[in-house]
Every structure is written in structure tokens, then in C-alpha cells.
């Protein structure tokens, strides 16, 4: 957690951090304890990768961010607003989760309707709603496919539309679950281009370590329900011992040390 002090300044500027997780602990109803006191602070505008082996508690953490799971102990605040039942709707607008399988996220008959689903739920109508849909689709470069069915898009296009469905809600923080999964190299790079162009706070859950390096200056490693490392991505990925201890591995031929 040393790196947290190094980043210094943004926290003191008076703006609430985009995400503040404090001592979060959670056990599933079957008794399985998934999180043992996770603390994590993401400042506005930061891009952070959340790394860790399967079963480390990454997905559990993500589902706490917008109140789908409720903390057993500890708290989560988004842009200064605590995650609690009474303002769940505003929290869900502020936290834009892009799920791993776009087929789970895109459920409306056409791309444009799907992008409109979120903002319409959050009360936007008419020209406002249309403008949001257009802007979000243009941002991900999918404007010309607005009237197609998500079913007839390629994997990379679906992923970008899934991103647009969340961007249209104008989130405080963008949470991406395995954004590069099942993408071919070109689609993977195109998505990276879109993400790098966004001026958004981002938390990216991934196993794709080079992707984390490319997109996120800072990384947080969690394992067994606790944060085990937090620092500049390049430094973490160069620490072979740390990676080995937490079942993380760079692809063949890839070295940073």
C-alpha cells in the first residue's frame, strides 16, 4: 500500500474520490467468505487495473460497487455518495459496469434501444435521451450500426456497444469486467484505442496483464479477499516474485524486469 502515499496530491484537493472502498468484508449466504476487509481509493480521472487470480474476490468486489451485493462490513462510496438502499438508483447511474459477456448486457432488439435503456431508466427522455444515445455510439464508433440487432455484430463491435450502453448513463466511474476476453487482437486494440480516448475514471478487472499495462498507470492486486499490492502497473508487473505468489503470469516472451 506504499504507492497510495506516493500518488499524494489528488486526495487533498477537496473533490470526493470517484470510488472509496473502506474495510469491505463480505461472506456469501453459504458461508464462503469472499472479501476480508478490502480498502481501495480511486481518484477522479484515474485508470486502475484490478488484478488477481480466479476466485480472488474481484467479481464480488465489483458487485458491491453498485449495490447488487450489500457489504457485510465496511462501506463503499461513489463520488462521495455512500452505497445504500435509499439512493441505489443514483449509485447505479454513477457506476457503469460493463460485464464480461456482451450477450448478457445487450438484451434489447436493436443497438440504439439498448444504449437508450440505461438513460431512460434514469429518467432521460426525448431529445436529451436521443442525444445521449448518439454521443455514446459515436464515442465507440458504432453510430452507423444503431438500428442493427446486437446479434448480428462481431464480438468486438458488441463489446464496444456494451461500453456505449454504460457511457450513455454518464457514469462517475467505469467498471470493466475482463474487457479483452474473447476478442481477436485487432478488436482488442480497437477497444484499447476507444478506452484510452475516454476521459473517464476507470476500474478494469482483468487477467490480461499487458492490457493492464497499456491502459492503466496503476494496478491493485487482490488475492484471498484482501489487497496484496497497489502501485504503478509497470513496477508490479516487473516483480516476478509477487506475480508468482498470486498466480499471475505475463504471456510467453514478455518481460518487464
Amino acid at each position: 500500500m506504499k504507492a497510495q502515499a506516493d500518488r499524494g496530491a489528488p486526495g487533498t484537493s477537496g473533490i470526493a474520490p470517484s470510488l472509496e472502498v473502506t474495510e469491505l468484508a463480505f461472506a456469501y449466504p453459504d458461508g464462503h467468505q469472499a472479501l476480508y476487509g478490502v480498502s481501495l481509493r480511486v481518484e477522479r480521472g484515474e485508470r486502475v487495473a484490478l488484478l488477481g487470480p480466479n476466485g480472488a474476490g474481484k467479481t464480488t468486489l465489483v458487485l458491491h460497487l453498485n449495490g447488487i451485493l450489500t457489504a457485510g462490513h465496511g462501506s463503499v462510496a461513489v463520488g462521495g455518495l455512500p452505497v445504500a438502499r435509499r439512493h441505489l438508483q443514483e449509485i447505479r447511474r454513477r457506476v457503469g459496469i460493463v460485464f464480461q459477456d456482451p450477450d448478457d448486457q445487450l438484451f434489447m432488439p436493436t443497438v440504439a434501444e439498448d444504449v437508450a435503456f440505461g438513460p431512460a431508466n434514469f429518467g432521460y427522455t426525448g431529445a436529451d435521451l436521443a442525444a445521449r444515445v448518439e454521443t455514446a455510439l459515436a464515442t465507440v464508433g458504432m453510430a452507423e450500426h444503431r438500428d442493427r440487432s446486437p446479434l448480428h455484430l462481431s464480438g468486438g463491435q458488441r463489446r464496444r456497444v456494451a461500453l456505449a450502453t454504460v457511457l450513455a448513463c454518464d457514469p462517475e466511474i467505469l467498471v470493466l469486467d475482463e474487457p479483452s476476453a474473447n476478442l481477436d487482437p485487432v478488436a482488442r486494440r480497437e477497444l484499447a484505442d476507444v478506452l484510452l480516448d475516454l476521459d473517464a475514471t476507470m476500474l478494469m478487472v482483468t487477467h490480461d496483464l499487458p492490457y493492464a499495462l497499456q491502459l492503466c498507470p496503476r494496478s491493485v492486486v487482490i488475492d484471498d479477499g484482501v489487497v496484496v499490492a497497489d502501485g504503478p502497473t509497470r513496477a508490479l508487473l516487473a516483480d516476478a516474485e509477487l506475480l508468482r505468489r498470486h498466480r499471475l503470469e505475463l504471456p510467453y516472451g514478455f518481460r518487464l524486469d
Binding site: 445487450l106 432488439p109 436493436t110 435503456f117 434514469f122 427522455t125 440487432s149 454504460v166
Partner: protein, 254 residues
């Protein structure tokens, strides 16, 4: 809208019938079918009137008669029963080329055949001029239960995803030497169906989570701003009014 979801019963077009709001067409079709059902079976002229009315709508909508006829074959299995009635019905009986036919049976058969056919033709006309997506929108505007609308919308989207999954599972089975032609291999197919059910159920849970994350509160938002005008209602319901007049004439005259 609905460009990605061509369904076999829809015939794309830009006629006045296509452009009518979906809820108007749904109401007109339901009224039309009710009129047909309420018509006394012996009012032959009235049934001919209904058919002429539908034919008029097809002309306006630019639907070829052959297109409608081919799709109306779907009715065939349901009218088999009607064919049996003249043989099995009560007295009085009439002789026709050596066959003894029951008069009430003949009437009964005609009743099923005429009303069934007109009902199918009306539904085909509605489906042929309205994309599925718009049908759902129409139902929503007519205040159909939210749950029904949500289920139907999701079905419209996921039926192809699930079919794709079933297809991939089948390929994987065949690749491992499964030959579904043999009866003793039906077990594997059945287990495949079970697996598909569980997978679809799990997907349903994930879709629900993703919907909640985007602020879903239990009802689908209406995404178009177009509102139906009185004039559209008047134009759309004119054929239904004609049908009602026919039905009335039918019950007075017979």
C-alpha cells in the same frame, strides 16, 4: 426499428398499413376477429364481405395474395377436425355423390373453416405489416402487463442466442461420434436439452444483474416519442368499423 429482427411472417414495406401505429392495428385486428366469431354461421354473404375487406387491406399494404395464401397453410392441421364433422354429425342427413352427410355437421364444419380461416388471415395481415418489435411496443401502449412485455422482449432477443448455443452443443456432440438418428442415442440429446435449460437459466440471472446495473426498476422504458394521433386511430379502425357493420347486418338478416 426492428431491422435486425426479420421474422418470416413480416413483409417489409412502407404502405399506409405498415405506417399505422402498432396498437391501432392490434385493436383493429382483435375487433375484426371478434366480429367474425360473432357472425351467425349461415350468413354466407357476410363472410364474403370480410374476405373482401381483408383483400382490400392487402392491396393497400402491397401484400401479394399468394404470399398470404402460402402462410395461411399453417391452419391446415387445425381444420382436419372440421372435415370429420359432416360424417359424424346428427340428422337430418343429405345425400351427396353417394355420401350421407349430416346437415348440422356441414354447418359446423363451415363455421370452423370460415371463422378459422378469416382469423388466420387477419393475424397474418397484422404480422405481415408489423415488425415483432413494434407489436411489443403496441402491446405496451395498450397497457399489457409489464411482466409479459419484458418476457416477450427478452425472448425476442435471446431466442437466437439460445438457438446458437444449442447448435454449438449439437456440433460438439456430433464431433464426438454422436448420431442422433438412432433411438438409443436420444438420451444424449435429452441431456443436452437439460444442460441448455440450466445454461439459459444462468444467463437469465446474469442478464438480470446487468439490467439492474443500468437502473432497471421492473418496467421497460418506452423509447420512442411518437404518440398516436386521433386521425391514425380513425383510419386504422375504419376497417374494424366496417367489420362490425357486417357482423351487425349478419345477425339482423339471418
Amino acid at each position: 426499428m426492428g431491422a435486425g429482427h426479420a421474422h418470416p411472417l413480416y413483409r417489409p414495406g412502407d404502405s399506409p398499413v405498415h405506417r399505422l401505429p402498432p396498437e391501432v392495428k392490434i385493436v383493429a385486428a382483435v375487433v375484426g376477429v371478434c366480429c367474425v366469431v360473432a357472425t351467425p354461421r349461415a350468413a354466407f354473404g357476410v363472410f364474403a364481405g370480410y374476405l373482401l375487406l381483408l383483400a382490400g387491406i392487402w392491396v393497400v399494404a402491397g401484400i401479394p395474395f399468394g404470399w398470404i395464401l402460402r402462410r395461411s397453410l399453417i391452419e391446415t392441421p387445425f381444420v382436419v377436425l372440421a372435415v370429420l364433422l359432416p360424417f359424424a354429425g346428427d340428422d337430418p342427413r343429405i345425400e351427396w355423390i353417394g355420401l350421407s352427410l349430416s346437415e348440422p355437421g356441414l354447418y359446423g364444419a363451415w363455421n370452423i373453416l370460415a371463422k378459422g380461416t378469416l382469423g388466420v388471415l387477419t393475424s397474418l395481415t397484422l404480422a405481415g405489416t408489423t415488425p415483432l418489435r413494434d407489436l411489443l411496443l403496441g402491446l405496451q401502449r395498450l397497457h399489457a402487463p409489464h411482466l409479459v412485455i419484458t418476457i416477450a422482449t427478452l425472448m425476442l432477443r435471446y431466442i437466437d442466442v439460445i438457438a446458437g448455443e444449442a447448435h454449438r452443443m449439437r456440433l460438439a456432440r456430433i464431433s464426438r461420434g454422436h448420431d442422433p438418428r438412432f433411438l438409443w442415442q436420444a438420451g444424449a440429446t435429452a441431456r443436452g436439452v437439460g444442460t441448455l435449460f440450466v445454461r439459459s437459466y444462468e444467463r437469465g440471472e446474469r442478464v438480470h444483474l446487468a439490467m439492474l446495473s443500468r437502473g432497471w426498476t421492473g418496467r421497460m422504458p418506452q423509447l420512442t416519442e411518437q404518440r398516436t394521433t386521433r386521425r391514425q386511430w380513425a383510419v386504422g379502425l375504419a376497417p374494424a368499423a366496417l367489420a362490425a357493420a357486417l357482423a351487425l347486418a349478419g345477425s339482423i338478416l339471418t
